[in-house]
């Protein structure tokens, strides 16, 4: 009862807080102290969002961005997952790739944008390459730690019960390392999402949400910028909650390897 009252009070206050922030922003925008092109009112932003969605332009930009992010991440998974497993299983492979990965990881992916532009030209190839670079290391290093974190007792128990190398891999190592792999996917997506927006701004190719925001600056269209920011935030949020959340529920939570959070 007490908890329920607490919860409803929190919700009420959350609503108050959001309304207050919105009202504050809107009165700032309407006060005339700043040019309306720079600080548009909330209805203007809403209209830009709805117009963009209705005429399909914002949707098309979103699809381009998603295409780049998913292809780049797919490539990063295709390389990072097997390599991470090999690194976890073989000492020689670990010795070779771990120093390289540790040296490349602290270089922000956006630092490669000018180099990639020279190598691959403006456009899709550069953006996808940057996403790949951003997503590769979280994927690789988390898979590696996951495989190494598989409890050796499980492996011995599996062997004692007559599991071959093949079923040991599929029935013990893959499920055993999956909590780490999912963490890796999450981190990889977060970085990829930053990388794609930045790469689209710098290696502009006239499509993509990052490019929309950057291009809107030239024409002082702050309403379009804020509308695109909303779309970017919503997609990021949806991936985090819906895609990775349900992936987690379908695998590691169902297998009882991690426990569900409070919510």
């Amino acid at each position: 009862m007490r908890a329920l009252a607490d919860r409803s009070r929190s919700l009420r206050r959350a609503a108050v807080s959001l309304l207050l922030a919105a009202a504050l922003y809107d009165s700032l925008a309407r006060s005339g102290a700043f040019p309306p092109a720079l600080i548009p009112t909330l209805p203007t932003v809403g209209r830009a969002l709805i117009d963009g969605l209705l005429d399909g332009s914002l949707a098309a930009h979103t699809l381009y961005t998603l295409y780049r992010v998913l292809l780049g991440m797919g490539l990063a998974i295709a390389v990072g997952l097997p390599l991470g497993i090999l690194m976890g299983r073989s000492r020689a492979i670990e010795d070779f790739f771990l120093p390289l990965a540790s040296a490349l990881m602290p270089i922000p992916s956006l630092a490669w944008v000018p180099v990639f532009i020279l190598w691959f030209g403006l456009g899709n190839a550069t953006a996808i390459g940057i996403v790949f670079y951003a997503a590769l290391f979280p994927m690789l290093l988390n898979t590696w730690s996951g495989v190494r974190a598989v409890n050796p007792i499980w492996l011995r128990a599996g062997r004692a019960m007559g599991a071959g190398a093949r079923s040991l891999f599929w029935k013990v190592i893959v499920p055993g390392s999956s909590p780490f792999v999912i963490t890796g996917l999450r981190q990889a997506f977060l970085r990829a999402w930053i990388a794609v927006v930045g790469a689209e701004m710098l290696a502009a190719s006239d499509w993509g949400l990052g490019w929309v925001i950057f291009d809107a600056k030239e024409f002082l269209k702050a309403d379009l910028m804020l509308a695109s920011l909303v779309v970017i935030g919503l997609i990021g949020f949806a991936f985090e909650r819906l895609v990775f959340g349900s992936l987690e529920r379908a695998t590691v939570q169902r297998w009882g390897m991690v426990h569900a959070g409070k919510d």
């Binding site: 120093p99 390289l100 000018p114 925001i213």
Partner: protein, 254 residues
């Protein structure tokens, strides 16, 4: 034994550099776009000797420090307020949760529009990006301070001020340090990109982006190496030291 460990770590780099050199010498790509290792080293030496590279690097690090300091002060204050007061938590949490999932770099053009090209926008954006993990972790840390500690301090006659300094702050510190580390890492990841967009006169991001115009791939790659070195130093030296001096010494973390 030590030498073998060093050799084992160095081996992959030697292999990669050798491969790079072979590809560069075979001229599969034009040498302007794919310079040899010597050319990159020569560019590094030339730029260091002329003082340009240290100047670029110093400006980048200063921006990082300025933005990060703003975020650390404001973020820790907001996080502590959220952890101690229910009202502050309820009011601030929805705003923080809404701002956090948007990648900081997406705000860059907006900040440039509002605050102009240059340092102000860059520093504010760095601060804005790193504040979210700092707030979240400080808030979690303050809430994780054991109720027993607070009550026993109160029973022993601690006033609000001492409760804060002697119990809550040290108790939350492991989390706060994690937040600072995450915040700094995020700030570092976008700072270079923001420098490219904000057209600041000095800075590593601007240096490598400007080098593109003249096809100076050697300068770019030398810059990328410096950026990686700074990133590695921040991660390993700064925070490990800070942790050793505080939470490890107090026996809260090993």
């Amino acid at each position: 034994m030590r030498w073998r460990a060093v050799a084992r770590t160095a081996f992959p780099f030697v292999v990669v550099l050798a491969l790079w050199e072979i590809v560069a010498r075979l001229r599969i790509l034009p040498p302007r776009l794919f310079p040899t290792v010597e050319t990159i080293v020569a560019a590094f030496v030339r730029l260091t000797a002329s003082g340009a590279l240290p100047h670029h690097a110093a400006d980048t690090v200063l921006r990082l420090i300025a933005g990060f300091a703003l975020a650390a002060i404001a973020g820790i204050a907001i996080g502590i307020a959220m952890g101690r007061s229910r009202l502050a938590e309820d009011l601030a949490l929805p705003l923080v949760s809404m701002g956090a999932p948007i990648p900081g770099i997406a705000y860059a053009p907006l900040f440039l529009l509002w605050f102009g090209l240059g340092n102000v926008s860059t520093v504010l954006l760095v601060g804005f990006v790193s504040i979210f993990p700092i707030i979240f972790n400080t808030w979690t840390g303050v809430k994780a301070v054991k109720e027993v500690w607070v009550r026993s301090a109160l029973a022993m006659g601690a006033d609000d001020r001492r409760l804060f300094h002697k119990v809550i702050l040290p108790g939350a510190l492991p989390y706060i340090l994690t937040g600072l580390r995450l915040g700094l890492a995020q700030a570092w990841r976008i700072l270079v990109g923001v420098e490219m967009l904000a057209a600041v006169p000095w800075g590593l991001g601007w240096m490598i982006f400007g080098a593109r115009e003249f096809l100076n791939t050697d300068v770019m790659l030398a810059g990328v190496v410096v950026i990686g070195t700074i990133g590695l130093t921040l991660e390993n030296l700064v925070f490990k030291r800070l942790e050793d001096f505080t939470v490890v010494r107090w026996g809260m973390m090993t």
